[in-house]
């Protein structure tokens, strides 16, 4: 199963390895007995740890996947006849197989225009104004979904988040952040987790772990003081509550220990930034969005992308002229170099 020579892998950050510290945490947690379903000491510690991390009272729910985190978060703040505003590129809109509609009993995803995978505050305000608030036949504005970092690799500034949250809260909407790449965004912004979340107006956060060195779990973090008291029961009904929860909590505690999560994210971000620096100004190469996290969306001639694939470099085409390249926490300098060199070579050949 081990390839002769390592792959040059840019398909996804979920193609990568687990940070060894998380597996080591499983070994450490594996002694004695403990009550199931979250009634254990490590899960209690997790609650405290997230309160410290975010500098406020929170509730944390480890869940198996990012889709679970998004769909249950949104379902918990959205009525069945509600509308969830999001970017057309948002993961909940493009890649979760109707999960939010399912868990919410029918809530509708409403894509809004915006740049680089972002929702714009103006578009949100306009959509709410035209939504027919209070009319029983209209999907009622319930929540806005921000993907941070975005699905095009950009990062919302704190001001952008705050502007959206202000519009949302003025009309009673909740702000959900899909933080599958929250670590990458916080590392990129250089701010505190609190600043990146509730201080900017986020009510409920899908806290990503898997893509950034995690194993088999992410988490939901609830900031809103009037947050749904029944989220725990919704999760149980959804089959999302592990009986051996302590082993999920142990992983996430290790992920936070000594800022490991930010170190891992910086590795991935740095790899992406290096590639952007090396290829971003090449003729015939366009970065579709600013490279602010660990993803690059590169628009170039189809023959260039074809040639990269012929080289055996692993990445996804998002169109004939559009390639997505994702860096992992452990993307190697060799991979960065191989990709940048190959792009430069194929672009040059073409010119």
């Amino acid at each position: 199963m081990k390839p002769e020579q390592p792959a040059i892998e840019f398909r996804s950050d979920n193609a990568g390895r687990v940070a060894p510290q998380l597996i080591e945490a499983l070994v450490q947690a594996n002694e004695g007995t403990a009550l199931g379903y979250g009634a254990d000491a490590l899960t209690a510690r997790l609650q405290t740890r997230f309160a410290e991390l975010f500098e406020t009272a929170v509730r944390v729910f480890p869940v198996p996947t990012g889709t679970a985190a998004n769909a249950l978060s949104l379902a918990s703040v959205c009525t069945p006849f509600g509308a969830v505003y999001c970017s057309p590129d948002a993961h909940i809109n493009t890649s979760e197989s109707n999960a939010t509609g399912f868990f919410s009993g029918g809530a509708k995803m409403v894509p809004l225009p915006g740049q680089h995978g972002k929702v714009s505050a103006q578009a949100l305000a306009a959509a709410i104004a035209g939504a027919g608030v209070g009319l029983a036949h209209k999907s009622q504005p319930a929540a806005v979904n921000l993907v941070q970092a975005t699905d095009l690799g950009a990062v919302y500034s704190l001001d952008e988040i705050a502007a959206i949250a202000e519009v949302a809260h003025a009309h009673g909407l909740k702000v959900h952040m899909d933080g599958a790449r929250f670590a990458n965004a916080v590392a990129s912004l250089g701010c505190s987790p609190a600043q990146a979340a509730w201080k900017a107006g986020v009510d409920i956060l899908s806290f990503g772990v898997t893509k950034n060195g995690g194993l088999l779990g992410d988490a939901i973090v609830v900031f809103a003081p009037d947050a749904p008291p029944a989220l725990g029961q919704h999760l149980r009904r959804a089959g999302m509550v592990w009986s051996k929860m302590r082993f999920a909590s142990a992983q996430i505690l290790a992920y936070l220990e000594g800022d490991l999560w930010l170190k891992l994210a910086r590795g991935a971000n740095q790899a992406a930034a290096s590639i952007a620096a090396l290829v971003g100004t090449l003729p015939g190469v366009r970065l579709v969005a600013p490279v602010e996290a660990n993803e690059l969306f590169i628009e170039t001639d189809a023959t260039v992308l074809d040639a990269l694939q012929a080289d055996g470099i692993l990445f996804y085409r998002r169109g004939p002229r559009l390639g997505r390249f994702v860096c992992r926490w452990d993307t190697s300098a060799a991979e960065v170099d191989a990709l940048a060199t190959a792009i430069a070579r194929h672009v040059a050949r073409r010119a």
Copy 2:
């Protein structure tokens, strides 16, 4: 977090440790990159391995929890207006927070009489006969759920399963086995996995791992040749498909390696059998069901149960005079001895 002296722990098999081989498998799997969502070599191997194990073509879907396995299995074989027959004691009926009703769009749990947590074939036949098959206002018989080992610690014989499956299949129902303790049952029956499952008529199986030394995942195994082709999409919509699936598959492969799963189960079963042998004939002590797997349900005087709790022995009361005692794969001889001795002592004192 380590107690001064080890707990005498009989609350649940999910309170126990992970078999170290499963964590070691994570370490082994943690190299190189791999495609996500099950498109990796280990998950491909898992498919093959289960086909070998069950001596037939199967499809296997690792899922986070037993509730997920049960609810998605049943939802996949049951219409929204269907009825699922089960024991009143069945986990899906008592302990899964309406998950099957939710995932199926409303399917109804219909408890049937039976002994020791089992469904009886006669009761099933009678229920189907009176169900109003074909009448649009009646919940239509869709599936029968067998918990193996049962929620009272008994084990269905192969003949019992076959008799139920015969009734079910004669009327178009699917047979779902909740095998949260499938390993314990197979170890108890001394038969092959195939005999305990599809050869006896099981169409779809929740294959338990967590309670028997697992970590954070179980699996759905589909035997029925006309099984729902869309189960993969249902799981994705349900947020149940890990992007880093290879780490789930690695665990389950290790769980099967060298019959580890059966060895673990035998440990738990043996502990339960030992206790049963030591206390089962004491005066004033009644075993509510035959102890055929790793659970004992002991009916005795309330003062005896009170005294055990006062001793610090950990177990659950299921009523004033009823205690549930669950053995783990790593329940120690000391625990067995401590419990049996304490019961004998308190019973003697009372007499």
Copy 3:
């Protein structure tokens, strides 16, 4: 389509005619234009009229069917992980094709023992006590469903309702009354509608019209001051809100006009009482429940029931020895006589 001689019809009260006053009301309402979806003068009048009828502030929602009324009522007061307690004979449990489970997102029907199609207050208290309130894996007690008159033709006394409501409210459950035959029950009790409903503790009522001379609609009446503000939106999402609502409201107003509803119900009740008086004491005939509304459940020798069917008398067998006979508002004296005479004849022949 008109039979040579009129049928002797006891299959169902929904097999009967519409009270002509309701059709006449459609003719009267059919002039001018009016806003749709309930924003018309007749629907406004309906709200006022029900407030008068029930002597308190209420909200009224006309809906197409009794199943719609029951399922939406219960879904509006029940969480998705809730339990709805009911009689095993309750229409929601036996005859609505999982509708309540569907609209509520999975809520579970939990049948409780009781006599004559009733829930007993003691059984309810015991069920709540054993439900595991607050445990996330347990279906949480949410509502109790009372069918009035019951599905076996009995009528809850006001004290019986109050006793159930007291238990329910003490534990935070809502009381739903399935009043598909509410008119029959009120006529039987001889009390005011208010006494039969909220004064006895009912929070939400399915107010039946169809079975008692109605056409194509029933209604939901909400008494609870903290009733779900979103019920209107739930109904809209469910496709249950007629655009030409004024024609639904006109019918229900006519139904109430001059106590028409009670007069119709008295006709049906009297027919049933007459039959009961004529056959109830015959040897070998047993009335399964007191005949307090418009239904009789007659247990007798199978040959008697066979003979009635051979006579062409229309009714349903509920078992070899059990027949259900339902009287309509317009059941004729001739029908009553024909049935009673035939039963007496066949019983005598058998003796």
Copy 4:
């Protein structure tokens, strides 16, 4: 309740009266008894009548509302993880409070570009091509929804429908027609109902009655030979099946009798055409879409619309400069004249 002088009413076709023939049909149907839930002679006749009307075998299901017809139709042909393509202006997308998402278990509405409220075949083909067919994380193309006449008052030509159906069927999608104004469209096209429906590729049709002189019901008509056999049960579970079905069927039979439905539609269409002819070429007046059925969408100066409202003319603003004017089957010549004259007057004043 009767206004001093008749309203000039252009708010909606559901604001209008019932065609008296439908109420008369209720009177005629109101004798004798009949089995409930569709097992009556009139409903049997309805099946035959629709087969005649559409010149093919069909199944017909009367339902309470157009939303019910749309949502249940689509849910019956769409998996929970499916995508339903539609116009951004489609009623299912704008005005049904997430009903289709709810009944389908989460199916997603995907708006496609097109003119005049239509879906374009090209846009549909492009959307399917980019949908990620077969990928479990992508909403799978399941159905396309055509509103006929469209929500902007235009009518699909038979060729347009056929082109869309060809694309849809080539990729396994079902074609659903929201025929809330099917009568208006057929009258406008001058073709047979069969040509307007299954001969052009429609698989399942919401057959509108309410807006065109109906009372409290529409119908679902299923053409697809492999149509969901369980639709009847889905409707029952949804509380959509009237026990006194014969009175729903009687209305629809009357609606078809002697081509009444087309006569009513021609009345409404003619009124709209007259207004269009009178105002369509006025300076500063633009008809947003061709007036091919009974609706006009008029774009003009805000002051003109303000003045019409000040005149007491009843219609809806769809924006500051956009008014919607809907003609009913009984819109009077006086209303047509009053509206056209007022528009002309206000436009002239402004010039």
